[in-house]
C-alpha cells in the first residue's frame, strides 16, 4: 500500500467553504423537524409516506455509494489486481455515502427514539423486507469502517495493529461484498408489497435482481466519475487506461439489465403503458435513454477511449440508476386518491446539507490519510 499518499493541499479551500455554508443552512430545518414533526418541513403525506429523504438519501444514495462494492468484486473476487489503486478511494466514498444515509434515516423515521427496536429479538420481524435492509445496511456501515481502518494505522509505530487488522481483512472484504448484494437487491424488494400502487412499468418480481444489477453498474459508473473528477479538480494524472478497461464491464451488465427489464414488460403485456403519454411514460423513456446512451458509447471501441465520452457515459449511467430509483419509489407510485408529492424546499436543503457533509468528509480524509495513489507513481 506504499503507493497511497495523502493529497497535498489546504483543507479550507473555497469549494469547501461553500459546502460548509450549504450544510449549515440545513441545521434550522432539522431543528424544526424535530420540534414540530415531519409535516412542518416536508410535503410527505399519508399517500406519499416516503419522499426525497428515503428515495434519494437511502435508496439512491447507497446505490451511488456502491463504488466500493463494485471495486471489491472486481479486485478480490475476479482477481483483477491492476485496479487496486482505485479501491481505497472508492471505499471511502462508499463509507461516507452509507454512513450519511444512516444518519439521514434518523431525520425521516417518525419515532426515531425507539429505532433500536428493529434489532431487539422480540420486536424484529424477519418477514419484513425493511428489517433485512436495516440490518444489512447497519452491519455494512460497520464493516466498511473496519475495511477502511488500515488507513488510520499506516504510519511508523503502528505496524503491529496494522498487521492484526490486515490478517482479518479477508473476512471484512467478503462481508463487504455479501452485504450490499443482500440489501441492494432488497431495496428493490421493498416495493413488491405495494402491488398495483406501483405502475406496471416498474412493478415486477424481478425488482430485487434489477436493483442489484443497476447498483453494481452505478458503482462502476461512480468509480469512473470520481477518478476523472478528482483528476481534474485535484490536478492529478488520470488513471485512464485502467478506467477505459473498467468501462468494458459495464455494457455486459447493461445488456443483462435491459433484457430482464424489457423482457419482463413484454411478457406481462405492460409495454403498451409507454404510450400512455403521461408523466410516468415520459420518465420511463428518459430513464431508459439514460441507460442506453452508455451502452452505445461504451460498446464503441474508439469512443470509449476518449475521456469526454467516458465521463459522459459514466455520468449518464449513474443518473439512469438514480432516475430508475426515483421512478420506482415516487414517479410510478400512485396511492390511488388525490395525493401529490413534490419535495419541499426544506426537504431539498436537508438532503443538500447531507451531501455537503459527505463531500467535506471525503475531502478531509483524502488530504489527511493515504487514500489516493501517489502522483509520482501513478
Amino acid at each position: 500500500m506504499s503507493e497511497l499518499k495523502p493529497v497535498k493541499g489546504k483543507i479550507f479551500t473555497l469549494p469547501f467553504f461553500i459546502l460548509l455554508i450549504l450544510s449549515v443552512i440545513a441545521i434550522p430545518f432539522i431543528v424544526k423537524r424535530f420540534m414540530y414533526g415531519l409535516g412542518a418541513v416536508s410535503n410527505l403525506s399519508d399517500g406519499y409516506p416516503w419522499g426525497m429523504w428515503i428515495v434519494y438519501d437511502v435508496v439512491t444514495g447507497t446505490a451511488i455509494a456502491c463504488g466500493g462494492y463494485a471495486m471489491a468484486i472486481l479486485v478480490y473476487i475476479f482477481n483483477k489486481g491492476q485496479y487496486h489503486p482505485l479501491v481505497r478511494s472508492a471505499l471511502l466514498a462508499s463509507m461516507f455515502g452509507y454512513t450519511l444515509a444512516s444518519v439521514s434515516i434518523f431525520f425521516d423515521v417518525g419515532r426515531y427514539w425507539q429505532m433500536y427496536n428493529i434489532f431487539l429479538p422480540w420486536y424484529s420481524n424477519t418477514n419484513s423486507v425493511m428489517f433485512e435492509v436495516a440490518a444489512c445496511i447497519a452491519t455494512y456501515v460497520l464493516v466498511m469502517w473496519l475495511e477502511f481502518s488500515p488507513a488510520f494505522f499506516e504510519k511508523p509505530g503502528q505496524e503491529k495493529t496494522l498487521k492484526k487488522i490486515n490478517s482479518a481483512m479477508f473476512i471484512f472484504i467478503a462481508l463487504g461484498v455479501l452485504l450490499p448484494t443482500m440489501h441492494q437487491s432488497s431495496l428493490g424488494s421493498l416495493m413488491i408489497i405495494a402491488g398495483d400502487k406501483l405502475s406496471g412499468l416498474w412493478q415486477t418480481d424481478f425488482l430485487p435482481l434489477l436493483f442489484l444489477i443497476s447498483a453494481i453498474m452505478m458503482g462502476f459508473g461512480m468509480v469512473i466519475f470520481e477518478s476523472m473528477f478528482s483528476s481534474v479538480h485535484l490536478e492529478r494524472p488520470l488513471e485512464k487506461s485502467l478506467l477505459s478497461k473498467l468501462s468494458g464491464v459495464i455494457p455486459k451488465l447493461l445488456i443483462v439489465f435491459l433484457i430482464i427489464r424489457f423482457g419482463d414488460l413484454i411478457f406481462k403485456g405492460k409495454l403498451g403503458l409507454i404510450f400512455s403519454f403521461n408523466f410516468q411514460s415520459l420518465m420511463f423513456v428518459i430513464e431508459n435513454l439514460l441507460f442506453i446512451y452508455p451502452l452505445i458509447i461504451l460498446s464503441s471501441k474508439e469512443k470509449k477511449d476518449q475521456s469526454k465520452y467516458l465521463f459522459l457515459s459514466a455520468a449518464s449511467l449513474v443518473l439512469a440508476g438514480a432516475v430508475y430509483r426515483f421512478d420506482t419509489f415516487l414517479v410510478g407510485f400512485n396511492p390511488g386518491v388525490n395525493f401529490h408529492y413534490f419535495p419541499s424546499f426544506a426537504e431539498i436543503m436537508i438532503t443538500v446539507g447531507i451531501i455537503s457533509v459527505e463531500i467535506m468528509a471525503y475531502l478531509i480524509f483524502i488530504k489527511t490519510l493515504p487514500v489516493l495513489p501517489d502522483v509520482k507513481h501513478a
Binding site: F34, Y36, G37, L38, G39, L44, S45, D46, P49, Y76, I77, N79, G81, D108, V109, G110, R111, Y112, Q114, M115, N117, I118, W122, Y123, S124, N125, N127, S128, V129, M130, F131, E132, M169, F170, I171, I173, A174, L175, V177, L178, T181, M182, S186, S189, L190, I192, I193, A194, G195, D196, K197, D205, F206, P208, G263, D264, F267, F333, G336, N338
Partner: protein
C-alpha cells in the same frame, strides 16, 4: 387442453422463465381466517351517510378533532375518526344506489386475513390477533418508518405528520370495548344496520344470504350485530352479486356489499393472494435458513483470502 392466451404464451416462452411462471409463483401458502375471527359487514345500499359511525368512533376511541395531525385529504380533517364516510357522486345525484347517481362508502381498516402491513413492519408493531384476527398497532414497538402506509393496498394507516412524537392511527375494531362484551362504535350507532358486527363466518353467511334475496322484496336487516335484538325492515336493492373482501388480497374481515361497482367506491381490484405472501415467498426463498448467504459468504471469504494472499506474496 384448452389453449387460452396465457397457456399459449407459456408454451411460446418455454425457455424464458419470465412468462412461464404465473404471477404468484413465489408466494408462500395463503393464510386462513382465524376460527374465532370477528368482522364487520358494511352494506352500502343501507347507508344513509349520517356519519353516526364517525361520531361513535371518535367517542369510543377518545379521539378529539385534530385537524393538523392528519393531512390525508381522503379523511375529513374536521371529524377525525378511524372510519370515514365517503360519497360517490355522478349524474344528477337524485337517486341513491344507481351507478350514475350517488352512493356512500364507509372507509376503514379492512383487517386483512394476510395483512401487508403486518408483514412489512420491521419492528412487529402491527400484529394480527391469532383469535379475533384484529390488526392492531403497538406504540412501544413502532419506529415510525411508515412502510405500512406504502404496503397497505387501501391506504388505511394514518401517521401524525404534524406531531413531534407521532403515532400511527388505525381502526382496531374497538377491541377495547369488545373485551367488555360490547360491539364496535360504528356498528352500535349505525341506525340502519349498514354496519353490522359479528363472527366472521356469520357475517359472510349474512352477506351471501342478502345477495340471494329477490330485488324489491322486504327484509328484516339486523342492526348493530347479528344476534338480532334490533332490526329494521327495508326493501332490498339490486345488489352487485359479489362480496368484496371475501377474496381480495387473500381476504378481509371487513366485507362490503354494494349496488354500484366497487371501483366507484374507490376499492381497488386486487388478486386473490396477498402481496405479503408474495414478498415473504421471495425473501424466504432467497434467505431460507440463511443457507444461501452463508454459502455465498464462505465462497467470497475463500476467494478473497486467496487473492489477498497471492497479492501479499507478490508484494514481498
Amino acid at each position: 387442453m384448452k389453449v387460452d392466451r396465457r397457456n399459449f404464451l407459456k408454451v411460446l416462452s418455454a425457455g424464458a422463465v419470465t412468462a412461464a411462471v404465473p404471477d404468484n409463483v413465489f408466494a408462500r401458502a395463503k393464510k386462513d381466517v382465524p376460527p374465532d375471527a370477528v368482522g364487520i359487514l358494511y352494506d352500502s345500499t343501507l347507508c344513509i351517510g349520517c356519519k353516526n359511525c364517525e361520531m361513535a368512533c371518535q367517542r369510543y376511541n377518545k379521539l378529539t378533532a385534530q385537524p393538523s395531525d392528519s393531512n390525508n385529504r381522503d379523511f375529513d380533517p374536521y371529524t377525525f375518526a378511524l372510519n370515514k364516510i365517503q360519497i360517490y357522486r355522478n349524474g344528477d345525484k337524485t337517486d341513491k344506489e344507481s351507478e350514475n347517481k350517488y352512493n356512500f362508502f364507509k372507509k376503514a381498516c379492512m383487517h386483512c386475513v394476510d395483512p401487508n402491513c403486518v408483514s412489512a413492519c420491521p419492528a412487529s408493531a402491527l400484529t394480527k390477533d391469532e383469535e379475533s384476527g384484529i390488526v392492531s398497532w403497538n406504540s412501544d414497538a413502532c419506529i415510525g418508518c411508515r412502510y405500512c402506509q406504502v404496503a397497505c393496498p387501501y391506504s388505511i394507516p394514518k401517521f401524525e405528520y404534524g406531531a413531534a412524537f407521532p403515532e400511527i392511527i388505525k381502526c382496531e375494531m374497538c377491541q377495547h370495548v369488545q373485551v367488555k362484551g360490547k360491539i364496535p362504535g360504528c356498528c352500535d350507532f349505525c341506525p340502519t344496520g349498514a354496519s353490522v358486527f359479528g363472527k366472521f363466518s356469520d357475517i359472510l353467511q349474512e352477506a351471501k344470504n342478502r345477495l340471494a334475496l329477490p330485488e324489491k322484496s322486504n327484509y328484516n336487516y339486523p342492526v348493530g350485530d347479528l344476534i338480532g335484538k334490533r332490526s329494521k325492515n327495508n326493501p332490498v336493492e339490486k345488489y352487485i352479486n359479489y362480496v368484496y373482501g371475501e377474496k381480495e388480497g387473500g381476504g378481509t374481515q371487513y366485507l362490503i356489499l354494494s349496488a354500484v361497482p366497487f371501483e366507484n367506491l374507490g376499492l381497488p381490484k386486487l388478486p386473490d393472494y396477498s402481496n405479503a405472501a408474495k414478498t415473504e415467498g421471495i425473501q424466504h426463498t432467497l434467505y431460507k435458513g440463511m443457507i444461501a448467504p452463508i454459502v455465498l459468504f464462505a465462497g467470497l471469504a475463500f476467494t478473497t483470502y486467496k487473492t489477498a494472499k497471492a497479492e501479499d506474496e507478490k508484494g514481498e
